[in-house]
Symmetry: D2
Subunit: 148 residues, 4 copies
């Protein structure tokens, strides 16, 4: 069902000292925060900052995450975190991420999300005003069913 | 104006690996989180969990913090964080903290806070239902003016 | 090849205010830190604190993590994080986790790790002095090959 | 003893979702991490990345921190964190920070540090190769005694 190349957004981040642990590399939990920064930028560049999406009344709640770590990132390095929209379904979406440092692949990952209506706090369909954008980001011509 | 000994609450915390940095000790920003855990417990033991205080419509917003670090805390160690209420004024409070490891003093600090009404998002007086408790915690017989 | 019930270690954690995000629940990255606390306790209760394992010259580096989030955890709540050793292979191990709040399952996850020699910074076999313990924790009679 | 204007380095940071708490603003502990990013950049722009300073055998250990919070920072906003070297003494230094958002001052702070020799893990004098740089950053003509 995928009909087009998916746009991919890159963010350059400087490794923060506070992100390291006593192993001398970035603690593995921080990659989820980095993914989030790249996801924020990806939405923003598509025209919808996630802060506005929340303001409009919806949350994109994380329901799953998965990460493969290949090499550590070190304080003093800059990493490039990229994000693409894997797929969008009627009620869920999955983003995919890569973390690189000077070309070397440090980590890959995905996060899965569902839409939640802020007022009712219940799961809901993708907000109508976002579906064209998300379809384009996912390179799909229509909403699919979740793969999982 | 201080008329009584101030009660002090202690919390034992296990140092988390994620809290260390590449220096091999706990990153200094985590002490503010530890202070908060001790402050939460201190309020809870006085009969008012801070989660309930928020639910009742007030925030105790941090307006200042100050920390002296004397020795590092290490993964594998347990620290004891203690909290007391330094003083309570009509619109502000200050808590004081100590962090110890097996008796050794690792750090001391204070945080200053003001009351904010959640609905109006404006500064306000200490909620009436809390003032007796806070006066007792501070060992005061009446609300004082902020020292700073 | 699994020959016995796997021991499971539980840790009770109070949700920290600093762990929440503006959605009003614990930010999803913190679950990896909670898993780590439970993993630390699991190793400790088996007789080998991970701080000692590092001191002896080995790192148990995280190579993968996967989490399913079912319900949010809130400030004011206590969660129970449990950890078991899924399997142990010659050069890798996988731990499994559950996070509960008053019986309700909030999240599940796994982390995969490889052994690294601190001096050479190269992958290595499980340190000899640990293999009996890890086999017992995994309920295995011998080291298996990684499943992934 | 101050003989010149102190150079000041600015870093622009995007507020991360993970940095917010349930009050809807950035949790106060993160300002110490932001200060650190600005301090890193300030050293780097003076010609000495702190990662290299550590590599050369010295730590600049935090011994004190103090912060005044005036307004919250929100997800979706960009903040500018600036750093200057307040003073440099034979064995200690103090940095000062400001956090702004579109001109509005959100917070100010200072951190105090001492030099530690990585090999001996003992306090030491400022490494000789750094003193000219630090004197210039502090706008001093010679090392002073700590003010505290």
């Amino acid at each position: 069902m995928e009909t087009a190349v998916k746009p991919r957004t890159e963010v350059e981040l400087e490794v923060r000292y506070a992100e390291t642990d006593q192993m001398g590399v970035v603690h593995h939990s921080n990659y989820l925060c980095w993914f989030e920064v790249a996801r924020t930028r990806h939405c923003e560049e598509s025209g919808h900052h996630y802060a506005d999406i929340e303001e409009q009344g919806h949350w994109l709640v994380v329901t799953g995450a998965s990460i493969r770590y290949r090499q550590g990132a070190r304080y003093g390095e800059k990493v490039v975190v990229s994000c693409a929209l894997d797929w969008v379904a009627t009620r869920a979406v999955q983003f995919a991420y890569e973390v690189r440092c000077e070309g070397r692949l440090l980590a890959t990952g995905t996060t899965e999300h569902v839409w939640v209506d802020r007022k009712t706090r219940r799961h809901c369909r993708i907000p109508g005003y976002l579906s064209d954008t998300f379809l384009r980001l996912a390179g799909q011509d229509r909403l699919q069913r979740p793969k999982s």
